[in-house]
Protein backbone atom coordinates (compact mmCIF):
# COMPACT_ATOMS: atom_id res chain seq x y z
CA UNK A 1 0.00 0.00 0.00
CA UNK A 2 1.44 3.31 -0.98
CA UNK A 3 1.56 5.89 1.72
CA UNK A 4 -0.20 9.16 1.44
CA UNK A 5 0.21 12.04 3.76
CA UNK A 6 -3.06 11.11 5.40
CA UNK A 7 -1.81 7.73 6.57
CA UNK A 8 -1.12 7.46 10.21
CA UNK A 9 2.50 6.71 10.79
CA UNK A 10 4.18 5.61 13.91
CA UNK A 11 5.16 8.63 15.90
CA UNK A 12 8.24 8.45 18.04
CA UNK A 13 8.08 10.64 21.08
CA UNK A 14 10.83 11.27 23.54
CA UNK A 15 9.75 11.45 27.14
CA UNK A 16 12.42 12.62 29.47
CA UNK A 17 15.14 12.69 30.67
CA UNK A 18 13.95 15.99 32.08
CA UNK A 19 10.29 15.08 32.21
CA UNK A 20 9.01 15.71 35.73
CA UNK A 21 6.94 12.52 35.82
CA UNK A 22 9.79 10.15 35.13
CA UNK A 23 10.90 10.68 38.74
CA UNK A 24 14.48 11.37 37.84
CA UNK A 25 16.44 11.21 34.66
CA UNK A 26 14.77 8.36 32.84
CA UNK A 27 14.31 8.72 29.13
CA UNK A 28 11.46 6.74 27.62
CA UNK A 29 11.15 6.58 23.85
CA UNK A 30 7.49 6.06 23.10
CA UNK A 31 6.29 4.66 19.83
CA UNK A 32 2.83 6.00 19.35
CA UNK A 33 -0.04 5.27 17.08
CA UNK A 34 -2.23 8.23 17.78
CA UNK A 35 -2.92 8.10 21.47
CA UNK A 36 -2.00 4.44 21.81
CA UNK A 37 1.43 3.30 22.84
CA UNK A 38 2.84 0.58 20.64
CA UNK A 39 6.09 0.12 22.41
CA UNK A 40 8.70 1.77 24.56
CA UNK A 41 12.38 1.83 24.96
CA UNK A 42 14.02 3.00 28.13
CA UNK A 43 17.31 4.83 28.05
CA UNK A 44 19.03 4.79 31.39
CA UNK A 45 22.42 5.73 32.70
CA UNK A 46 22.13 9.49 33.07
CA UNK A 47 22.81 9.19 36.77
CA UNK A 48 25.57 6.63 36.55
CA UNK A 49 28.24 7.26 39.14
CA UNK A 50 29.99 3.94 39.14
CA UNK A 51 29.12 3.06 42.70
CA UNK A 52 30.02 -0.60 42.26
CA UNK A 53 33.42 0.35 40.94
CA UNK A 54 34.00 2.80 43.77
CA UNK A 55 33.49 -0.10 46.17
CA UNK A 56 36.53 -1.85 44.80
CA UNK A 57 38.74 1.02 45.90
CA UNK A 58 37.31 1.46 49.36
CA UNK A 59 37.50 -0.56 52.51
CA UNK A 60 34.33 -2.23 53.74
CA UNK A 61 33.58 0.46 56.30
CA UNK A 62 34.35 3.27 53.91
CA UNK A 63 31.94 2.04 51.28
CA UNK A 64 28.93 2.11 53.60
CA UNK A 65 28.06 5.80 53.06
CA UNK A 66 28.01 5.33 49.29
CA UNK A 67 25.16 2.83 49.30
CA UNK A 68 22.90 5.51 50.77
CA UNK A 69 23.27 7.37 47.53
CA UNK A 70 21.72 4.68 45.39
CA UNK A 71 18.13 4.63 46.53
CA UNK A 72 18.32 7.94 48.30
CA UNK A 73 14.64 7.84 49.17
CA UNK A 74 15.24 4.71 51.23
CA UNK A 75 18.83 5.17 52.31
CA UNK A 76 18.38 3.25 55.53
CA UNK A 77 17.23 0.12 53.70
CA UNK A 78 20.23 0.30 51.43
CA UNK A 79 22.52 0.63 54.38
CA UNK A 80 20.88 -2.33 56.06
CA UNK A 81 21.31 -4.57 53.03
CA UNK A 82 24.96 -3.69 52.74
CA UNK A 83 25.88 -4.15 56.37
CA UNK A 84 24.00 -7.46 56.50
CA UNK A 85 25.94 -8.71 53.51
CA UNK A 86 29.26 -7.75 55.05
CA UNK A 87 28.21 -9.25 58.35
CA UNK A 88 27.45 -12.52 56.63
CA UNK A 89 30.85 -12.38 54.97
CA UNK A 90 32.70 -12.00 58.25
CA UNK A 91 30.23 -14.18 60.14
CA UNK A 92 29.17 -11.65 62.71
CA UNK A 93 25.69 -10.97 63.90
CA UNK A 94 24.53 -7.62 65.16
CA UNK A 95 23.55 -7.40 68.81
CA UNK A 96 19.85 -7.76 69.68
CA UNK A 97 19.59 -4.11 70.59
CA UNK A 98 21.10 -3.07 67.29
CA UNK A 99 18.72 -5.36 65.43
CA UNK A 100 15.66 -3.86 67.07
CA UNK A 101 16.82 -0.35 66.25
CA UNK A 102 17.57 -1.40 62.70
CA UNK A 103 14.06 -2.73 62.28
CA UNK A 104 12.54 0.49 63.62
CA UNK A 105 14.58 2.73 61.37
CA UNK A 106 14.09 0.60 58.28
CA UNK A 107 10.35 0.48 58.74
CA UNK A 108 10.21 4.21 59.31
CA UNK A 109 12.18 4.54 56.13
CA UNK A 110 9.69 2.35 54.31
CA UNK A 111 6.97 4.73 55.42
CA UNK A 112 8.99 7.72 54.25
CA UNK A 113 9.63 6.08 50.90
CA UNK A 114 6.00 5.16 50.37
CA UNK A 115 4.94 8.65 51.38
CA UNK A 116 7.15 10.22 48.79
CA UNK A 117 5.86 7.72 46.24
CA UNK A 118 2.27 8.48 47.11
CA UNK A 119 2.71 12.21 46.90
CA UNK A 120 4.51 12.21 43.57
CA UNK A 121 2.33 9.49 42.07
CA UNK A 122 -0.81 11.40 42.98
CA UNK A 123 0.76 14.55 41.60
CA UNK A 124 1.36 12.79 38.28
CA UNK A 125 -2.24 11.72 38.14
CA UNK A 126 -3.37 15.24 38.87
CA UNK A 127 -4.12 15.22 42.57
CA UNK A 128 -1.89 17.91 43.99
CA UNK A 129 -3.13 17.99 47.56
CA UNK A 130 -1.72 14.65 48.82
CA UNK A 131 1.83 15.78 48.04
CA UNK A 132 1.67 18.53 50.64
CA UNK A 133 0.34 16.19 53.28
CA UNK A 134 2.70 13.33 52.58
CA UNK A 135 5.73 15.56 52.63
CA UNK A 136 4.56 16.95 55.94
CA UNK A 137 4.40 13.47 57.44
CA UNK A 138 7.66 12.43 55.85
CA UNK A 139 9.29 15.41 57.51
CA UNK A 140 8.52 13.88 60.90
CA UNK A 141 10.27 10.65 59.93
CA UNK A 142 13.25 12.59 58.67
CA UNK A 143 13.37 14.49 61.94
CA UNK A 144 13.66 11.21 63.82
CA UNK A 145 16.52 10.22 61.53
CA UNK A 146 18.19 13.56 62.02
CA UNK A 147 17.91 13.33 65.77
CA UNK A 148 19.21 9.80 65.73
CA UNK A 149 22.14 9.96 63.36
CA UNK A 150 22.54 13.56 62.31
CA UNK A 151 21.47 13.32 58.69
CA UNK A 152 18.09 13.35 57.08
CA UNK A 153 18.45 11.68 53.74
CA UNK A 154 21.80 9.97 53.33
CA UNK A 155 21.79 8.72 56.84
CA UNK A 156 24.68 6.27 57.17
CA UNK A 157 22.86 5.05 60.25
CA UNK A 158 24.21 1.52 60.52
CA UNK A 159 27.74 0.25 60.81
CA UNK A 160 29.10 -3.19 60.23
CA UNK A 161 28.36 -5.14 63.38
CA UNK A 162 25.68 -2.88 64.74
CA UNK A 163 25.20 0.80 65.21
CA UNK A 164 27.46 3.75 65.77
CA UNK A 165 25.11 5.93 67.75
CA UNK A 166 23.28 5.08 70.94
CA UNK A 167 19.61 6.01 71.00
CA UNK A 168 18.98 9.55 72.11
CA UNK A 169 16.74 10.43 75.04
CA UNK A 170 13.15 10.40 74.02
CA UNK A 171 13.61 8.22 70.95
CA UNK A 172 10.91 5.79 72.02
CA UNK A 173 8.58 8.61 72.92
CA UNK A 174 9.10 10.33 69.59
CA UNK A 175 8.61 7.16 67.58
CA UNK A 176 5.47 6.23 69.48
CA UNK A 177 4.11 9.72 69.07
CA UNK A 178 4.75 9.49 65.37
CA UNK A 179 2.92 6.16 65.12
CA UNK A 180 -0.12 7.51 66.95
CA UNK A 181 -0.15 10.62 64.84
CA UNK A 182 0.47 8.90 61.56
CA UNK A 183 -2.35 6.35 61.34
CA UNK A 184 -5.11 9.00 61.12
CA UNK A 185 -3.07 10.63 58.39
CA UNK A 186 -3.15 7.48 56.29
CA UNK A 187 -6.92 7.48 56.69
CA UNK A 188 -6.87 11.04 55.51
CA UNK A 189 -5.02 10.12 52.31
CA UNK A 190 -7.48 7.35 51.74
CA UNK A 191 -10.32 9.79 52.17
CA UNK A 192 -8.73 11.99 49.55
CA UNK A 193 -7.99 9.28 47.04
CA UNK A 194 -9.45 5.82 47.56
CA UNK A 195 -13.01 6.63 46.58
CA UNK A 196 -12.27 9.61 44.42
CA UNK A 197 -13.81 8.90 41.02
CA UNK A 198 -11.04 10.57 39.06
CA UNK A 199 -8.42 8.62 40.92
CA UNK A 200 -10.27 5.35 40.44
CA UNK A 201 -10.94 5.88 36.79
CA UNK A 202 -7.37 6.84 36.06
CA UNK A 203 -5.98 3.81 37.87
CA UNK A 204 -8.33 0.85 37.72
CA UNK A 205 -7.39 -1.53 34.96
CA UNK A 206 -4.30 0.47 34.00
CA UNK A 207 -0.89 -1.17 33.72
CA UNK A 208 -1.88 -4.72 34.49
CA UNK A 209 1.00 -7.07 35.18
CA UNK A 210 -0.21 -10.46 36.29
CA UNK A 211 1.58 -12.84 38.60
CA UNK A 212 3.07 -14.97 35.84
CA UNK A 213 4.55 -11.94 34.12
CA UNK A 214 5.86 -10.59 37.40
CA UNK A 215 7.74 -13.81 37.94
CA UNK A 216 8.98 -13.83 34.39
CA UNK A 217 10.48 -10.39 34.75
CA UNK A 218 11.63 -10.94 38.31
CA UNK A 219 9.50 -8.10 39.55
CA UNK A 220 9.29 -7.90 43.33
CA UNK A 221 7.87 -5.72 46.03
CA UNK A 222 4.42 -4.16 46.08
CA UNK A 223 4.04 -4.71 42.33
CA UNK A 224 4.29 -8.44 42.83
CA UNK A 225 2.08 -8.42 45.90
CA UNK A 226 -0.63 -6.52 44.05
CA UNK A 227 -0.82 -9.44 41.64
CA UNK A 228 -1.77 -11.83 44.40
CA UNK A 229 1.57 -13.34 45.33
CA UNK A 230 2.22 -13.06 49.04
CA UNK A 231 5.98 -12.84 48.70
CA UNK A 232 7.77 -10.71 51.20
CA UNK A 233 11.36 -11.40 52.14
CA UNK A 234 10.69 -10.26 55.66
CA UNK A 235 8.53 -13.37 56.00
CA UNK A 236 10.11 -15.62 53.41
CA UNK A 237 13.66 -15.40 54.72
CA UNK A 238 13.57 -13.28 57.84
CA UNK A 239 16.57 -11.15 58.67
CA UNK A 240 17.27 -8.81 61.53
CA UNK A 241 14.71 -10.55 63.74
CA UNK A 242 11.67 -9.92 61.59
CA UNK A 243 10.37 -13.35 62.56
CA UNK A 244 9.63 -11.93 66.02
CA UNK A 245 7.18 -9.34 64.82
CA UNK A 246 3.61 -9.85 63.84
CA UNK A 247 2.52 -8.33 60.60
CA UNK A 248 0.55 -9.25 57.51
CA UNK A 249 1.53 -9.18 53.90
CA UNK A 250 -1.11 -7.18 52.09
CA UNK A 251 -2.01 -8.62 48.71
CA UNK A 252 -4.53 -7.83 46.03
CA UNK A 253 -5.71 -9.73 43.02
CA UNK A 254 -6.27 -7.39 40.11
CA UNK A 255 -2.63 -6.46 39.53
CA UNK A 256 -3.47 -2.99 38.27
CA UNK A 257 -2.24 0.41 39.31
CA UNK A 258 -5.07 0.90 41.77
CA UNK A 259 -4.25 -2.34 43.55
CA UNK A 260 -0.64 -1.38 43.88
CA UNK A 261 -1.80 1.83 45.51
CA UNK A 262 -3.95 -0.12 47.96
CA UNK A 263 -1.13 -2.51 48.76
CA UNK A 264 1.29 0.29 49.51
CA UNK A 265 -1.21 2.08 51.73
CA UNK A 266 -1.72 -1.10 53.71
CA UNK A 267 2.03 -1.63 53.91
CA UNK A 268 2.42 1.69 55.64
CA UNK A 269 -0.06 0.56 58.28
CA UNK A 270 1.77 -2.72 58.70
CA UNK A 271 5.05 -0.86 59.06
CA UNK A 272 3.58 1.18 61.86
CA UNK A 273 2.51 -2.08 63.46
CA UNK A 274 6.06 -3.45 63.29
CA UNK A 275 7.54 -0.21 64.60
CA UNK A 276 5.15 -0.25 67.55
CA UNK A 277 6.12 -3.80 68.47
CA UNK A 278 9.81 -3.14 68.04
CA UNK A 279 9.93 0.11 69.94
CA UNK A 280 8.08 -1.41 72.87
CA UNK A 281 10.72 -4.09 73.29
CA UNK A 282 14.15 -2.70 72.55
CA UNK A 283 16.52 -5.00 74.44
CA UNK A 284 19.31 -3.56 76.53
CA UNK A 285 22.89 -4.32 75.81
CA UNK A 286 25.69 -3.25 73.57
CA UNK A 287 24.89 -1.66 70.24
CA UNK A 288 27.83 -3.03 68.36
CA UNK A 289 29.22 -6.50 68.11
CA UNK A 290 32.96 -7.04 68.16
CA UNK A 291 34.29 -6.24 64.72
CA UNK A 292 37.93 -5.70 63.89
CA UNK A 293 38.81 -2.10 63.12
CA UNK A 294 40.80 -3.22 60.11
CA UNK A 295 38.34 -5.47 58.38
CA UNK A 296 39.77 -8.29 56.29
CA UNK A 297 37.02 -10.77 55.54
CA UNK A 298 38.07 -14.28 54.58
CA UNK A 299 38.07 -15.22 50.93
CA UNK A 300 34.51 -15.93 49.93
CA UNK A 301 31.27 -14.44 48.80
CA UNK A 302 27.96 -13.51 50.30
CA UNK A 303 24.59 -12.59 48.92
CA UNK A 304 22.00 -11.00 51.13
CA UNK A 305 18.71 -9.66 49.97
CA UNK A 306 16.24 -7.67 51.97
CA UNK A 307 12.78 -6.37 51.39
CA UNK A 308 13.39 -2.73 50.54
CA UNK A 309 10.37 -0.46 50.04
CA UNK A 310 10.59 -1.03 46.30
CA UNK A 311 11.23 -4.76 46.25
CA UNK A 312 14.05 -7.18 46.71
CA UNK A 313 17.30 -5.37 47.26
CA UNK A 314 20.29 -7.64 47.10
CA UNK A 315 23.98 -7.21 47.75
CA UNK A 316 26.49 -9.66 46.40
CA UNK A 317 29.97 -9.17 47.78
CA UNK A 318 33.04 -11.11 46.79
CA UNK A 319 36.04 -10.91 49.05
CA UNK A 320 39.55 -11.85 48.04
CA UNK A 321 40.86 -11.56 51.56
CA UNK A 322 42.20 -8.03 51.20
CA UNK A 323 41.03 -4.78 52.70
CA UNK A 324 38.83 -3.89 49.76
CA UNK A 325 35.99 -5.93 48.34
CA UNK A 326 36.85 -7.67 45.09
CA UNK A 327 33.41 -7.02 43.68
CA UNK A 328 30.19 -5.56 44.97
CA UNK A 329 27.14 -6.20 42.89
CA UNK A 330 23.82 -4.64 43.74
CA UNK A 331 20.48 -6.03 42.68
CA UNK A 332 18.39 -2.90 42.68
CA UNK A 333 14.64 -3.50 42.74
CA UNK A 334 13.90 -0.44 40.63
CA UNK A 335 15.98 -1.61 37.68
CA UNK A 336 14.37 -5.03 37.56
CA UNK A 337 10.89 -3.61 38.03
CA UNK A 338 11.46 -1.09 35.26
CA UNK A 339 11.92 -3.90 32.76
CA UNK A 340 8.24 -4.66 33.00
CA UNK A 341 7.39 -1.15 31.85
CA UNK A 342 7.27 -2.08 28.18
CA UNK A 343 4.73 -4.82 28.69
CA UNK A 344 2.63 -2.68 31.01
CA UNK A 345 2.32 0.30 28.70
CA UNK A 346 1.69 -1.56 25.44
CA UNK A 347 -1.74 -0.62 24.23
CA UNK A 348 -2.23 1.98 26.93
CA UNK A 349 -2.87 5.66 26.35
CA UNK A 350 -0.14 8.26 26.52
CA UNK A 351 -1.58 9.68 29.72
CA UNK A 352 -1.36 6.27 31.36
CA UNK A 353 2.37 6.05 30.80
CA UNK A 354 2.88 8.59 33.53
CA UNK A 355 0.66 6.61 35.88
CA UNK A 356 2.48 3.38 35.11
CA UNK A 357 5.94 4.84 35.62
CA UNK A 358 4.67 6.26 38.88
CA UNK A 359 3.22 3.01 40.09
CA UNK A 360 6.48 1.15 39.55
CA UNK A 361 8.04 3.44 42.15
CA UNK A 362 11.45 3.75 40.60
CA UNK A 363 14.40 5.76 41.79
CA UNK A 364 16.93 6.53 39.13
CA UNK A 365 19.81 6.76 41.55
CA UNK A 366 19.35 3.06 42.10
CA UNK A 367 18.81 2.13 38.48
CA UNK A 368 21.91 3.83 37.16
CA UNK A 369 24.04 3.50 40.28
Amino acid sequence: MSQTFLDSNELVLNMGPQHPSTHGVLRVILKLDGERVNGTECVIGYLHRGVEKIAENRTYQMFAPYVDRMDYVAAVSNGLGYVLAVERLINVEATPRAQAVRVILTELNRIASHLLWLGTHALDIGAITPLFYTLREREEVLKIFENYCGARLTTHAFRIGGLQYELYDGFEREVNAFCDWFIPKVDEYEELLTNNRIWRERLIGVGILNAADCKRYGVTGPVLRASGVAWDLRKAQPYCGYQNYEFDIPTRQNADTYDRYVVRMEEMRQSVRIVRQAVGAIPDGPIKAKVAKVLKPPVGEAYVSIEAPKGELGYYIVSDGTLNPYRVRVRPPSLINLQALDQMVRGALVADVVAIIGTLDIVLGEIDR
Binding site: M62, P65, R136, Y148, C149
Partner: protein, 151 residues
Amino acid sequence: MIALLKKILLVDLLQGLWVTFRNQHPKHLYTEQYPLERPKVAERFRGAPRLNINPDNGETLCISCDLCAKACPENLIVVTSVRNEQTKRKDLTTFTYDTSRCMFCGLCEDACPVDALELTQDFELASYTREGLIWDRQMLEEGPKPTRYTR
Protein backbone atom coordinates in the same frame (compact mmCIF):
# COMPACT_ATOMS: atom_id res chain seq x y z
CA MET B 1 -29.71 3.44 43.90
CA ILE B 2 -27.65 4.77 46.79
CA ALA B 3 -24.56 4.46 44.68
CA LEU B 4 -26.18 6.49 41.94
CA LEU B 5 -27.28 9.12 44.41
CA LYS B 6 -23.77 9.28 45.82
CA LYS B 7 -22.44 9.71 42.34
CA ILE B 8 -24.80 12.52 41.47
CA LEU B 9 -24.19 14.31 44.76
CA LEU B 10 -20.39 14.07 44.26
CA VAL B 11 -19.96 12.52 47.69
CA ASP B 12 -16.47 11.21 46.94
CA LEU B 13 -15.20 14.57 45.79
CA LEU B 14 -16.79 16.43 48.68
CA GLN B 15 -15.20 13.99 51.07
CA GLY B 16 -11.78 14.92 49.69
CA LEU B 17 -12.60 18.61 49.80
CA TRP B 18 -13.56 18.25 53.44
CA VAL B 19 -10.08 16.89 54.20
CA THR B 20 -8.55 19.86 52.46
CA PHE B 21 -10.83 22.17 54.38
CA ARG B 22 -9.90 20.61 57.71
CA ASN B 23 -6.26 21.28 56.97
CA GLN B 24 -6.81 24.97 56.25
CA HIS B 25 -6.30 26.03 59.81
CA PRO B 26 -3.10 28.09 60.27
CA LYS B 27 -1.92 25.73 63.00
CA HIS B 28 -1.30 23.18 60.27
CA LEU B 29 1.26 25.42 58.58
CA TYR B 30 4.57 23.65 58.29
CA THR B 31 6.57 25.76 55.89
CA GLU B 32 9.69 27.27 57.35
CA GLN B 33 10.43 30.81 56.24
CA TYR B 34 14.05 29.91 55.95
CA PRO B 35 16.32 32.93 56.08
CA LEU B 36 14.05 34.66 58.54
CA GLU B 37 13.13 31.61 60.53
CA ARG B 38 16.13 29.43 61.13
CA PRO B 39 15.65 25.72 61.61
CA LYS B 40 16.91 24.22 64.79
CA VAL B 41 18.89 21.22 63.71
CA ALA B 42 19.45 18.17 65.83
CA GLU B 43 22.23 17.95 68.35
CA ARG B 44 23.91 15.20 66.37
CA PHE B 45 23.60 17.02 63.09
CA ARG B 46 26.49 16.36 60.77
CA GLY B 47 27.27 19.72 59.29
CA ALA B 48 30.30 21.96 59.01
CA PRO B 49 33.49 20.45 60.41
CA ARG B 50 35.25 22.05 63.33
CA LEU B 51 38.66 21.45 64.82
CA ASN B 52 38.20 21.89 68.52
CA ILE B 53 40.60 23.90 70.60
CA ASN B 54 41.19 23.60 74.27
CA PRO B 55 39.21 26.47 75.80
CA ASP B 56 41.69 26.91 78.63
CA ASN B 57 44.85 27.60 76.70
CA GLY B 58 43.68 28.01 73.14
CA GLU B 59 45.75 25.10 71.87
CA THR B 60 44.37 22.63 69.44
CA LEU B 61 43.14 19.32 70.75
CA CYS B 62 44.34 17.53 67.65
CA ILE B 63 47.27 15.21 68.24
CA SER B 64 48.06 14.86 64.51
CA CYS B 65 47.46 11.13 64.54
CA ASP B 66 46.15 11.21 60.97
CA LEU B 67 43.39 8.72 61.77
CA CYS B 68 40.66 10.96 60.38
CA ALA B 69 42.50 11.28 57.09
CA LYS B 70 42.83 7.49 56.91
CA ALA B 71 39.18 6.92 57.73
CA CYS B 72 37.82 9.29 55.14
CA PRO B 73 36.46 7.52 52.06
CA GLU B 74 37.08 10.58 49.95
CA ASN B 75 40.65 11.21 51.13
CA LEU B 76 39.93 14.85 51.56
CA ILE B 77 41.66 15.55 54.86
CA VAL B 78 45.35 16.38 54.85
CA VAL B 79 47.15 16.63 58.16
CA THR B 80 50.76 17.70 58.41
CA SER B 81 52.81 17.91 61.54
CA VAL B 82 56.33 18.39 62.81
CA ARG B 83 57.92 16.47 65.59
CA ASN B 84 58.51 18.50 68.70
CA GLU B 85 61.81 17.39 70.18
CA GLN B 86 61.06 18.68 73.67
CA THR B 87 57.73 16.96 74.24
CA LYS B 88 58.48 14.04 71.89
CA ARG B 89 55.10 14.63 70.30
CA LYS B 90 53.87 15.75 66.97
CA ASP B 91 52.73 19.32 66.63
CA LEU B 92 50.04 20.08 64.15
CA THR B 93 51.13 22.44 61.41
CA THR B 94 48.39 22.45 58.79
CA PHE B 95 45.03 20.80 58.52
CA THR B 96 43.07 21.09 55.29
CA TYR B 97 39.59 19.81 54.79
CA ASP B 98 37.93 19.97 51.40
CA THR B 99 34.25 20.53 52.13
CA SER B 100 33.39 20.50 48.45
CA ARG B 101 33.99 16.74 48.31
CA CYS B 102 32.81 15.86 51.78
CA MET B 103 29.65 13.81 52.06
CA PHE B 104 29.27 14.34 55.81
CA CYS B 105 29.22 10.68 56.57
CA GLY B 106 30.79 11.14 59.96
CA LEU B 107 33.51 8.52 59.63
CA CYS B 108 36.30 11.00 60.35
CA GLU B 109 34.50 12.21 63.43
CA ASP B 110 34.11 8.65 64.68
CA ALA B 111 37.76 7.91 64.05
CA CYS B 112 39.15 10.81 66.03
CA PRO B 113 40.45 9.47 69.34
CA VAL B 114 40.44 12.80 71.17
CA ASP B 115 37.25 14.36 69.77
CA ALA B 116 39.21 17.08 68.11
CA LEU B 117 37.41 16.87 64.81
CA GLU B 118 33.69 17.32 65.03
CA LEU B 119 30.84 17.85 62.62
CA THR B 120 28.81 20.72 63.97
CA GLN B 121 25.36 22.15 63.54
CA ASP B 122 26.37 24.85 61.07
CA PHE B 123 24.94 24.08 57.71
CA GLU B 124 25.59 27.16 55.60
CA LEU B 125 28.71 26.23 53.72
CA ALA B 126 28.18 27.97 50.41
CA SER B 127 31.03 29.86 48.87
CA TYR B 128 31.50 31.87 45.71
CA THR B 129 34.71 30.11 44.77
CA ARG B 130 35.90 26.55 44.74
CA GLU B 131 38.95 27.53 46.72
CA GLY B 132 36.69 28.91 49.40
CA LEU B 133 35.39 25.42 50.02
CA ILE B 134 38.80 24.11 50.98
CA TRP B 135 39.08 24.94 54.61
CA ASP B 136 42.36 25.46 56.35
CA ARG B 137 43.13 25.07 59.99
CA GLN B 138 42.13 28.57 60.93
CA MET B 139 38.78 28.29 59.24
CA LEU B 140 38.16 24.93 60.83
CA GLU B 141 38.85 26.32 64.26
CA GLU B 142 36.76 29.44 63.86
CA GLY B 143 33.88 27.93 61.98
CA PRO B 144 32.19 29.21 58.84
CA LYS B 145 31.13 32.80 58.57
CA PRO B 146 28.15 32.85 56.27
CA THR B 147 27.68 36.16 54.56
CA ARG B 148 24.98 38.26 56.14
CA TYR B 149 23.12 40.02 53.43
CA THR B 150 22.01 43.59 53.88
CA ARG B 151 20.41 45.93 51.48
